[in-house]
Symmetry: C2
C-alpha cells in the first residue's frame, strides 16, 4: 500500500518530482522586449494536426497527491502549474476594452468529435483553426521574481502594446483557476490606458501569435448575452461582468443603449427617430 | 522528426491513447441515488499528505497535440477531460443562493510553499485542510448519454438535495474551462428551487464529502467584494455576477442594501435610525 512507503523514499521521489515540475507550465515565456512583427503569422493558417502520446514533457508534469481524509485513504491526480495574472485593459481614448485573440490547441481539440480525433491527422478543412481561437483578457504566468503588478505591467506591454504605469494597475480579485486538476491562483487587475501609452503593436513574444482586439462596451454586452458557446474562459466573463458592474456606467457613450430583451444596441433617440 | 511518422502509426497510437483517455477525468462518478449520510465525514479531518510520482492513472491522461501553424511546426501538451455543467441554484423560499463546499487537493497543494512540499509528508497542523476548501456552484461532468439538462438535474439532486423539474433548468451560457491545458466546455444553468423540492441532504455520492452552504444575496455581495484571495473558481464568480445582474433585484430583501464603498450590509433605514 502506498501509505507504507517510508518518509525517506517519499522525500527523495518528491524532491526529484518537484525539481522537474518547477519547469512545468504550458506557456513558459522568456521576458524579451516586444517584437514588432512586420509580417504577422496567421493564426488561422493551421495544417498537419495530429495527437501523439506524451513524451517526457517540460510543460505538463502530472503527479499524485496522497492523503487521508475522514480516516479514509484517498488520492488525487493533478498538475503543477504556475500562478497567473489577468488584466482588464480599458482604453479611455477610444472607450474600448482590449482583448487578446489567440489559437488555443486545448479548445480546438475539444471541438473535434472523438471519432474524428482517432482517425489520424485531423481534417483542417472540415475543422478550421477558428474553432480554437479564443477571446481573452490579457494574461500571463507568474514565473519570475517580480511583483504581481510588475508582471501584469509586462504582459500589458508584450501582448497589447501599452506601457502602463505600475500605479495604474489596480488589484481586483484573486481566485482559484482549474480547481479540479490545477488549483493555481489567478489575480485580476484593472487598468485604464490611453492612446498615448501605446508604444508597440503587442502580439506577444517569440512564437506567440496574438491579435489585439478592441470592443466597445455595447459590443461586449451584446457578445456575452449571445447564445454561445463563447470561446472564452470563465475568468474573462467574470472580468467583463466586473467591468460592467463597476466601471461601465462612467464610460458608456450616452447615446448607446443595449436592450437585454431583444439584444439590439440602440441609440437613445432610436424610438423617437425610427418613424422619420 | 515527429512529422515523419506515418499516418498508420499515428492512427494506431492515437487510437490506443484515446481509448485510454476516454476514462480520463479527475472526478469520475457513477450515478447512484443520493446517500443520506448519518455520520457525515469531516472534510477538515486531513492527515498523511504527501506527493508521489504519477503511476498509470485512469484520471489524468496527458498527451501531445502536434500541428503546423503559419508554416511552423508546433506542439502543445494537454489533458483530455470531460465537458461539464454548473448550476446556479436559488432557493426562493429562503431567498438564498446554494453553494457546495468541498476539499480540493489541487487548491490545497498550491497553498503550500514549494520548499515545504518537498519535505516529504506535509504538516497538516501548519497547513490545515481549510486552505483547500472551496465554495463553488453545484457542478458535474458530462460522462453519460443524457442531455445537459438531465445531468444538471442529477447534480442538483446529488449535491444539493433538491429535486428540480427539468423545465426549471434554464441554460445561461457556455464557455471554455481551462483554455491552457483542458479547453473543455462548461455549460451554466440557472434554476430556482423551493423548500418543498428538498428531498435529501445532498452532499454528493460515494466518497464525496460535500457540504451544502446557503448565502443571502447581501452576503454574496459582501463576500465577492472582500480582499480575497477567494477560494473559488472564476466560473463561480461569473455565475454570481450573472445572478446579481439579472436576478438579484427581484429577490433582494427590500430592507437590505450593500454599500460598495464601505462594504457594509445596511438596512434601508440605517441612516435614518442610526442616531436613535
Amino acid at each position: 500500500m502506498s501509505m507504507l512507503i517510508t518518509n525517506i523514499v517519499r522525500a527523495c521521489s518528491t524532491k526529484r518530482l518537484l525539481d522537474e515540475v518547477k519547469l512545468a507550465n504550458q506557456t513558459v515565456k522568456k521576458i524579451k522586449p516586444p517584437i514588432h512583427k512586420d509580417k504577422p503569422l496567421k493564426m488561422e493558417d493551421l495544417t498537419k494536426v495530429y495527437l501523439s502520446p506524451l513524451p517526457d514533457s517540460p510543460y505538463v508534469r502530472p503527479f499524485r497527491f496522497n492523503y487521508v481524509q475522514g480516516g479514509k485513504d484517498k488520492n488525487w491526480d493533478m498538475l503543477a502549474v504556475h500562478d497567473s495574472v489577468a488584466i482588464i485593459v480599458f482604453n479611455t481614448t477610444k472607450n474600448v476594452l482590449i482583448f487578446v485573440k489567440q489559437f488555443r490547441p486545448a479548445v480546438y481539440f475539444n471541438c473535434i468529435p472523438p471519432a474524428e480525433r482517432e482517425a489520424g491527422e485531423i481534417d483542417t478543412n472540415k475543422y478550421p483553426a477558428s474553432l480554437g481561437i479564443t477571446l481573452e483578457m490579457c494574461a500571463g504566468i507568474v514565473d519570475k521574481n517580480k511583483s504581481l503588478q510588475e508582471i501584469a505591467k509586462e504582459e500589458v506591454l508584450e501582448e497589447c502594446g501599452y506601457d502602463v504605469p505600475l500605479r495604474e494597475l489596480h488589484q481586483i480579485a484573486s481566485y482559484r483557476a482549474g480547481v479540479g486538476v490545477q488549483g493555481s491562483l489567478q489575480t485580476l487587475f484593472y487598468c485604464e490606458v490611453t492612446d498615448d501609452m501605446k508604444v508597440g503593436k503587442g502580439g506577444g513574444v517569440e512564437d506567440e501569435i496574438i491579435e489585439v482586439v478592441e470592443k466597445s462596451i455595447a459590443d461586449v454586452e451584446k457578445w456575452i448575452s449571445g447564445p454561445g458557446p463563447l470561446n472564452t474562459p470563465p475568468s474573462c466573463l467574470f472580468a467583463l461582468m466586473w467591468f460592467l458592474r463597476h466601471k461601465a456606467d462612467k464610460y458608456r457613450k450616452s447615446f448607446e443603449r443595449y436592450c437585454g430583451e431583444c439584444k439590439v444596441v440602440q441609440d437613445d433617440g432610436f424610438f423617437a427617430t425610427s418613424s422619420d
